[in-house]
């Protein structure tokens, strides 16, 4: 039980979350966001906290296949839905094709935005398997990157979609 700023009691509620094909029982207060529960209760830290204000997209996860800013989504509201985090798409032993392409194109520098970028790109490619450059731009428009200037990330997504015919941006 926690005491919030105005002194009233908020009780924990219990529910299950389905993350990357596994079920996790959660006990948390209603105000906990999905990002925090994923990272601190479940221990999946691939999803990042950037702005915590629904601006940067570092916290992007898939909810029933659709990208959602997990910093601004109540964890309890995600019960009964399928949540996919970056850990559910690829790992160090078996990289997701988008991860391979980002490495090949130099689309990763500090790497903080990368999980969110991959989640948004994955959602885009699921509904549009051969997007134009503009469509990739729109698909990634909720994700900020302060290192790469985006061109190499977009190259990587186009490459992943087309299987290797994209000329790298110099």
């Amino acid at each position: 039980m926690t005491i919030d700023e105005q002194g009233s009691e908020s009780e924990s509620i219990g529910y299950d979350l389905h993350v990357n094909g596994q079920t996790y029982p959660v006990e948390a207060t209603l105000d906990r966001n999905l990002l925090g529960v994923l990272r601190t209760e479940i221990g999946l830290t691939g999803t990042k906290e950037g702005c915590d204000d629904c601006e940067c997209g570092a916290c992007m996860v898939l909810l029933d296949g659709q990208p959602v800013n997990s910093c601004s989504y109540l964890a309890a509201q995600a019960q009964g839905r399928q949540i996919t985090t970056i850990e559910g798409l690829g790992n160090a032993d078996q990289l997701h094709p988008l991860q391979e392409c980002l490495l090949a194109h130099g689309g990763v520098q500090c790497g903080f935005c990368t999980p969110g970028m991959i989640i948004s790109a994955h959602a885009l490619l699921e509904r549009n398997s051969s997007p134009s450059r503009d469509e990739v731009g729109i698909g990634l428009s909720g994700n900020l990157c302060r290192c790469t200037g985006y061109a190499k990330i977009i190259d990587a997504v186009l490459d992943s979609a087309s299987n290797g015919s994209v000329e790298p941006t110099p």
């Binding site: 919030d4 105005q6 009233s8 908020s10 009780e11 509620i13 209603l30 105000d31 966001n33 915590d52 204000d53 629904c54 601006e55 997209g57 992007m60 909810l63 659709q66 990208p67 959602v68 800013n69 910093c71 601004s72 989504y73 109540l74 309890a76 509201q77 019960q79 009964g80 948004s120 959602a123 885009l124 729109i138 698909g139 428009s141 909720g142 994700n143």
Partner: protein, 314 residues
């Protein structure tokens, strides 16, 4: 000791949702306003919520028997911007939905949430105002419908009663030879809030002159406002003089604030420019010309394309 209300009920039907709202629960759909506001400390998260995002009855777009468009309050911006009937007949609403937030915001954010949040900077507000949309508010006892100007009373404040849930937005059919558009001034293309914006619906007569025109303005007053005095445009051809009148009327009726996004003077001036562009795009759509959604992207506000396009009208 009184019983604690359920902190979160996940409703599956309208009746379940209305029952929870009647007991004091606050409805939540995508949470893009409610949760963000609570995390920023603007407003505490209510102690009891009812999630309405799984109520399928609220998620459809359909035509009523009289030809009116009925949009469930749970329809997301992503659905609105790609709905054929909205894009074809109520294009300004699609223009607006396509500009909201990012794909993630549009996937979970709903038109009902946008309407009931009552922000004067909301993108779907000006299109709904020019279409004379009726907002359906429901309780366990029944429904009532009110206009947008009756609903929005102050920034972030509506006239809805605490036990009322917005269940639908209803828009009457538009006259033949009508077109509409929503244009906004923005500093970036994503996760943006309108600096100012304008929606217009224009109906052309058989001779191509203006037979009807409604304009509403975004982010220049405590609520979305409709522009008065547009009767003087009836019978006029679309051209430089008409558009100058539109800009003057819009700018002179704006009563904006200065904040970190723009000064009062800049907002007053630029809302006239937006109104002019919205009227021009609406008039072109009224002739049957296809301008893809959203106008902000297909024309490119401030670009060479925009200037050539405006030059073509005069």
């Amino acid at each position: 000791m009184t019983e604690r209300p359920n902190p979160l009920l996940i409703a599956n039907t309208i009746d379940e949702a209305l029952d929870a709202v009647s007991r004091g629960s606050t409805p939540i759909a995508g949470g893009t306003d409610l949760v963000v506001g609570a995390r920023q400390g603007n407003k505490r998260l209510p102690a009891s919520l009812v999630a309405i995002d799984r109520v399928e009855e609220l998620q459809s777009i359909g035509l009523d028997s009289d030809g009116s468009l009925s949009i469930g309050s749970g329809v997301t911006h992503a659905t609105l911007m790609s709905s054929t009937v909205v894009v074809t007949n109520y294009t300004a609403l699609a223009d607006a939905a396509a500009l909201i937030g990012s794909p993630a915001t549009r996937n979970v954010g709903t038109i009902g949430g946008n309407v009931m949040n009552g922000s004067p900077a909301m993108d779907t507000g000006a299109p709904l105002a020019v279409f004379d949309a009726m907002i359906q508010l429901s309780t366990v006892a029944g429904n009532r419908q009110i206009t947008t100007s009756e609903l929005w009373v102050a920034p972030g404040q509506t006239s809805a009663e605490p036990d009322e849930l917005c269940t639908a937005i209803i828009i009457a059919p538009q006259p033949d030879r009508s077109g509409s558009a929503y244009v906004r001034l923005e500093y970036r293309r994503s996760m943006e809030i309108a600096v100012v914006g304008a929606a217009a619906v224009v109906t052309l007569g058989l001779d191509g002159t203006i037979a009807g025109c409604r304009i509403a303005l975004t982010a220049v007053a405590p609520t979305i406002v409709l522009v008065d005095g547009l009767e003087s445009l009836i019978g006029q051809a679309i051209g430089e003089a008409t558009l100058a009148t539109v800009a003057d009327l819009a700018s002179s009726q704006a009563a904006p604030i200065s904040d970190l996004r723009a000064s009062e003077q800049y907002r007053s001036h630029s809302v006239g420019v937006m109104a002019k562009r919205a009227v021009l795009a609406a008039a072109r759509r009224a002739t049957g010309e296809s301008i893809s959604v959203p106008v902000n992207r297909s024309i490119g506000v401030g670009s060479d394309g925009q200037r050539q396009w405006e030059a073509g009208a005069s």
